[in-house]
């Protein structure tokens, strides 16, 4: 007769297996149940209370760039969770931490600024994030490029936009049309002289016909702006002098206000409306 009794041992084993399966089924059912219970959670909330990324950098023992990766990946999930209402309150802080941990990690600056401008609707914050990135990565063209776009499109701050584009247009890797964005921003800002010079440079150094055409159109636009500006000013002086609008542009020359009448880039005259005193170019710059 072998064993305590083979049957007794066998039945004990069976009992254990029953316990095993029973408890397994039980905890799996319980897990499904607890999943349904909604708990107010702020995932990763404790990250908010770390005073700065610098502290975290020391705490991660040389794995700071890995930590940056992990926090970045987490942040993407966090910001893709629309049910967290107040997720933007620490946007700045979180991306500042990632920047402190790995300043040369470019994606977070882009993503952060995107979230800020598009989702949170805070363009100033977006620029703040990008500025941080620019400061730490002066040779990276993409960041001022993005910043320029935000300044131009969202804030309509063309002065700021042209600064950004100027910063990145000569950096390695920047697309050539950055220069054109710069020139355009100058124009929109109102700095017509520099805009003209810049467009001229672009025209002269254009690599192909298409770019030359674009430059030419813009030159037309800038010249028109400069010329019509001067003409308007002259009309104004005429009016002060005579008390009425000139009947035609030639009156300005006869009145010795202007030495001659400027022509547009194509050699055409500017169009004058004697009723309103408005001056404009003969054609649209884009339909030449």
């Amino acid at each position: 007769m072998n064993g305590r009794s083979a049957a007794a041992r066998g039945s004990a084993t069976l009992a254990l297996l029953a316990v095993l399966l029973g408890t397994c089924a039980a905890f799996m059912a319980l897990k499904l149940k607890t999943d349904t219970i909604v708990r107010k959670k702020v995932p990763g909330s404790s990250i908010i209370f770390i005073p700065s990324g610098k502290f975290l950098k020391y705490a991660t023992f040389g794995y700071s760039s890995l930590a940056a990766d992990l926090i970045y990946i987490w942040s993407i999930q966090y910001y893709s969770t629309p049910t967290i209402d107040d997720r933007f309150t620490h946007l700045d802080h979180i991306f500042a931490i990632i920047s402190d941990l790995d300043p040369a990690f470019i994606d977070p600056y882009e993503t952060g600024s995107l979230i800020a401008s598009v989702e949170a609707g805070d363009s100033r914050l977006a620029l703040k994030i990008l500025n941080n990135g620019i400061a730490k990565n002066p040779k990276e063209w993409l960041l001022p490029f993005d910043a320029g776009h935000i300044a131009m499109m969202n804030l309509k701050d063309f002065d700021l936009a042209q600064e950004y584009f100027k910063e990145c247009m000569d950096l390695p890797g920047a697309p050539d049309f950055t220069r054109r964005l710069y020139a355009n921003a100058l124009y929109r800002k109102g700095d017509l002289e520099t805009a003209w010079q810049t467009w001229l440079d672009i025209y002269k150094t254009a690599p192909d016909e298409q770019v030359r055409k674009i430059a030419s159109n813009h030159l037309y636009q800038v010249k028109s702006a400069i010329d019509t500006g001067r003409l308007k000013e002259a009309i104004g002086r005429y009016r002060d002098l005579t008390g009425r609008l000139p009947s035609e542009l030639a009156d300005l020359v006869r009145a010795h206000i202007l030495a001659s009448l400027a022509k547009d880039l194509d050699g055409q005259d500017y169009v004058y409306d004697p009723q309103t005193g408005a001056v404009r170019a003969a054609t649209s710059p884009w339909k030449r």
Binding site: A12, T13, L16, L17, V19, L20, T23, C24, A26, F27, M28, L30, K31, L32, K33, T34, I37, V38, R39, K40, K41, V42, P43, S45, S46, I48, F49, P51, F55, Q77
Partner: protein, 254 residues
């Protein structure tokens, strides 16, 4: 009862382990140091004290459970003290349960110790004891009980180093269960997703015992989860212990 006899000497033995006091010392330092940390912080000081304090109790508790638990059974086998033990009329199941109980007792004492230091530090800052903190600590203890069972399971057939790695892996897996869920949501329906879903429900979810965030932020806790969490902990622990006993029963001690 024989289980108590084993538990008793296990408690005596664990009490003597220097690792225990080292970890307890670090936990005490960590909790007390939150006072200094609080000065550096931008924001609510008390929150950081509570956060770090509870995290310390949890982390150091887990380290105690793993470091002591993984050598508990292994030492007996290695030093051959188990030969005199198991030749007595002692069932192998009683041995495993006794070891488990002894370590749980030890951890209970340690958790109470760390908890008292923590509550004292909080009291110094807020002049009151908050009920949610006690709940958070109690559930930390429940998590430790489960980790202990896991450590003993691995200790019954593996060396302390490997057992520690496996036990810590269990702990980590238990805390990123939600990550697996996120992944599953992005999967295409099919066999892979079904298998992943099964894995998700089977693998431990230690977040069920984590009320630290709620305690620190003063968030409300739905009352239903208290009972379900305890049951979850009990069932999972029983499962692990049953596994340990099953493995241990047919083992030859060469």
């Amino acid at each position: 009862m024989k289980i108590w006899a084993i538990a008793g000497i296990t408690f005596k033995e664990a009490k003597r382990d220097r690792i225990l006091y080292l970890l307890f010392f670090f936990a005490a330092v960590s909790i007390s140091a939150t006072r200094i940390l609080a000065i550096l912080t931008v924001g609510d000081r008390v929150k950081i004290i509570k956060d770090v304090g509870l995290a310390s109790i949890s982390i150091f508790g887990v380290l105690m459970a793993v470091l002591i638990g993984t050598s508990l059974v292994y030492k007996e086998i290695d030093k051959k003290t188990i030969l005199t033990l198991l030749s007595k009329p002692l069932r192998r199941a009683e041995f495993i349960l006794g070891k488990f109980l002894g370590l749980v007792l030890t951890l209970f004492v340690m958790t109470v110790g760390m908890g008292l230091i923590f509550l004292a530090v909080v009291y110094l800052h807020t002049s009151r004891i908050e009920w949610p903190l006690l709940v958070a600590i109690a559930y930390v203890f429940l998590e430790l009980v489960l980790i202990t069972a896991v450590a003993i399971l691995f200790s019954s057939f593996s060396t302390p180093i490997l057992s520690s790695i496996f036990s810590l892996a269990f702990y980590l897996i238990g805390h990123i269960s939600w990550g697996l869920n996120l992944l599953i949501k992005k999967m295409h329906a099919g066999a892979g997703k079904a298998a992943a879903r099964f894995l998700y429900v089977f693998l431990p979810d230690l977040e069920n015992f984590n009320f630290r965030t709620e305690a620190v932020h003063g968030l409300p806790i739905p009352s239903s989860i208290f009972l379900y969490s305890i049951l979850y902990g009990v069932c999972y622990t029983a499962f692990i212990l049953a596994l340990a006993i099953l493995v241990f029963r047919r083992r030859d001690f060469i």
